[in-house]
């Protein structure tokens, strides 16, 4: 049986899979060091998925295992429904990836490097070289040698290499590295447009702000484990709410609120009150606080609800915050 026909038997099952990436009990050891410790990960299709973690948490190792760059010691995984490594060729035919910093043959031009990579893919990949270069914005420099490229241009070339296979799944490891603010903005737009085309983008990054702006869902990895995963909005919904109130008499306002049944912790600051409300507090409670203060004859200058950011949430759930050196 040829490998093509062998893979063909799994094609229908793969197309029906609801997950772009699925890993169960994935374990990878380097000697005594456990880089991945029974990772359970599910990345839904058609979204931008952030993959976050502190340095050394195992982000790149998981990507390398998923792509077959290194083997797993235990566990199962699939990409786009194709079991890896059993149907690795079929899976990777639909995957584009940057792992670590993108490095290329420096003596070749960007276009020639893509020709080398396109030759290893399907014949149609050669026709995608020009459009891919244009899409990442380096078409004008495509015939320069890569040694003359900046780090940001190499990142763009790496993304162009990902696009050669017209992938359904893109795995980008720190794609914002080396990009200037305008480049980061373009990269963000490109990721959004890729998702809009129906592709899945897995974005590994330590730039939490970028991930929050770009991604729909995230997974947090720490010490080789996935400690949280899900849509960002749901994850942040589980955090406490902080209400900042700027008013004319903060001390009296605190006393007024203390006499009510409104829960939460009230602290007086030079600019007003800081009220920390428990998880799940509704908008009506905010309105009630405003009403109590105003009816007490205190002028309210500003009232702002501060939702916890991805960064603050990330720091709270990972072990790095406050960890001893």
């Amino acid at each position: 049986m040829s490998i093509t026909s062998l893979l063909g038997t799994s094609d229908r099952g793969a197309a029906q899979s609801q997950w772009a990436v699925e890993a169960h009990g994935l374990t990878k050891r380097f000697g005594d060091n456990v880089a991945l410790n029974g990772v359970e990960l599910r990345v839904p299709r058609g979204c931008a998925f952030g993959y976050l973690g502190p340095n050394g948490a195992g982000k790149t190792t998981l990507i390398r295992v998923l792509l077959g760059l290194t083997h797993a010691d235990a566990g199962t995984m699939s990409l786009l429904g194709y079991h890896v490594p059993r149907h690795r060729a079929a899976a990777l035919a639909r995957v584009g990836a940057i792992v670590d910093e993108p490095r290329f043959h420096g003596h070749l031009t960007g276009r020639q490097n893509l020709q080398v990579l396109a030759a290893a893919r399907e014949p149609a990949a050669r026709d995608r070289i020009g459009p891919a270069l244009e899409r990442v914005g380096i078409l004008q420099r495509a015939d320069d040698r890569v040694t003359k490229y900046s780090m940001g241009m190499r990142q763009r070339l790496g993304v162009a290499a990902c696009l050669l296979g017209d992938p359904q799944l893109l795995i980008l490891d720190e794609p914002m590295n080396g990009l200037d603010p305008a480049g980061m903005h373009e990269m963000r737009d490109m990721i959004v447009s890729l998702v809009a085309e129906g592709r899945t983008v897995v974005l590994s990054s330590h730039l939490l702000d970028e991930v929050e702006r770009t991604c729909d869902a995230v997974a947090i990895v720490d010490k080789g484990n996935i400690i949280r995963q899900g849509p960002i909005s749901e994850l942040l919904a589980g955090t406490s709410l902080v209400l900042q109130v700027e008013c004319s008499e903060p001390d009296r306002a605190r006393a007024l609120l203390g006499a009510t049944t409104i829960g939460g912790q009230v602290e007086v600051s030079p600019v007003g009150l800081g009220i920390t409300l428990p998880t799940g507090t509704g908008r009506d409670v905010v309105a009630e606080i405003n009403r109590v203060i105003v009816e007490g004859g205190i002028s309210v200058y500003r009232l702002q609800v501060i939702q916890a950011s991805l960064e603050s949430w990330f720091l709270s759930v990972t072990s790095r915050l406050g960890a001893p050196e």
Partner: protein
């Protein structure tokens, strides 16, 4: 921001693939490399300017410069410097220069092709394409050979051209300038006209009491001290014998010429077409072996420098030693050295490969090597090619990218 499915609830229907259905059915799991993979690999190697310059310099530049200098010297001082080409120059350049340098150059290219994807970070890009790692490895073999074979061929062609077209016009046989292409009668006639040169220089294989020996012993050979009187070549105990007549001398010269004709007929002004073709193929075999072994070693080690050094040590130090020294307890190990095996396939008519140069008449190139049959030599070469290809491919297939 786009809408994301809830990871804890069933996902919506899968998004249609942007790729056409079955677009990946391109046999990328096959171990056979595609033409595109080979051609782009060829391009990647060819674009290495420094490496290509070094290869051209060694395979073409060194013999070309050597021959050019000989051409110029002969053109300006023909009496002091002999012709640039000829049979002896051919055997010397082939056995002493092209054989060794061709191997080193090919090995350098092989080590580069075997390791450079890894060191330059392209290996993981290639692996992520899903293409079979074995196919990625095998694509390097035809690509590298497409570079090294023409380079060696050009260098060899330069040597052949100069050795043929700038060959001597007179044959120097036993130190005597003799017209070429003489028949046996013609050589005897020439000997009758130049009896002194024949008697004093040509080989003589007769008994000491023969009449020819008596004439030869009495023949005037060279000038004596002071340059005046001729010195007579006399055997011990032959003093006092009467001087041979001119007719006796000429008769002896004719007889000696007749004896030497078979040897004379084997002398060449320039290499024959057959020898050049065989030698060209042999040099290409050596280069191909160097490339494929270097490719495997480079892939195995994952770096170029150490692999190149090891290949040079093998060719320049280990192989000559193991090919010449007859060590009784290691004779089979010595026979397994690929350089020795290739040397045993050397065409007859060339010189000793690790000593360089061919003597008059040639054909003694392998006489000083550790003995090995042609069958064993071929088996050793095939084993090295297959073995190193398996090792290199295995390492590439199991290496972390």
């Amino acid at each position: 921001m786009t809408t994301v499915p809830d990871v804890s609830s069933p996902a919506p229907a899968p998004i249609p693939a942007t790729s056409s259905v079955g677009a990946w059915r391109d046999h990328r799991g096959s171990w056979i490399p595609t033409g595109g993979m080979i051609s782009t690999r060829f391009m990647e190697l060819r674009k290495r300017r420094g490496l290509m310059l070094a290869l051209i310099l060694v395979t073409i530049g060194i013999p070309a410069v050597f021959l050019l200098i000989r051409l110029l010297l002969h053109a300006f001082a023909p009496h002091s410097y002999g012709p640039a080409g000829g049979y002896d120059v051919f055997t010397g350049l082939v056995a002493g220069v092209l054989y060794v340098f061709g191997f080193i150059v090919a090995a350098t290219l092989g080590c580069t092709a075997g390791s450079i994807d890894l060191t330059e970070g392209m290996f993981r890009h290639l692996v992520v394409t899903g293409r079979s790692r074995l196919a990625l490895y095998l694509a390097r073999i035809p690509a590298g050979l497409a570079i090294i074979v023409p380079l060696v061929a050009i260098g060899f062609t330069v040597v052949c051209a100069v050795c043929v077209f700038a060959a001597p016009t007179q044959l120097k046989y036993q130190g005597v300038n003799v017209p070429v292409n003489l028949s046996s009668a013609g050589l005897q006639s020439w000997a009758a006209e130049h009896p002194d040169e024949v008697l004093c220089n040509f080989n003589l294989n007769v008994g000491p009491n023969s009449s020819i020996a008596a004439v030869v012993n009495a023949a005037p050979c060279g000038n004596g001290p002071g340059g005046g009187q001729p010195v007579f070549k006399q055997a011990p105990g032959s003093q006092g014998q009467p001087q041979p007549s001119q007719a006796q001398i000429e008769h002896a010269a004719v007889l000696i010429a007749r004896m030497n004709y078979a040897d004379y007929a084997r002398q060449f002004l320039y290499p024959s077409t057959s020898l050049m073709v065989k030698t060209g193929l042999w040099i290409e075999l050596e280069a191909a072996v160097g490339f494929i072994v270097g490719l495997g070693l480079g892939s195995l080690l994952g770096q170029r420098t150490v692999a190149v050094i090891l290949m040079i040590v093998l060719e320049v130090i280990l192989t000559p030693i193991l090919s010449r020294a007859h060590i009784a307890h290691m004779i089979n190990l010595q026979r397994s050295v690929v350089g020795l095996a290739v040397a045993h396939l050397e065409p007859s008519g060339l010189g000793f490969v690790f000593g360089g140069g061919g003597g008059p008449g040639g054909g003694q190139g392998t006489a000083r090597l550790v003995p090995e049959t042609t069958t064993v030599a071929v088996c050793v070469i095939v084993a090295w090619l297959v073995g190193w290809t398996i090792l290199g491919a295995w390492r590439m297939m199991t290496r972390d990218a």
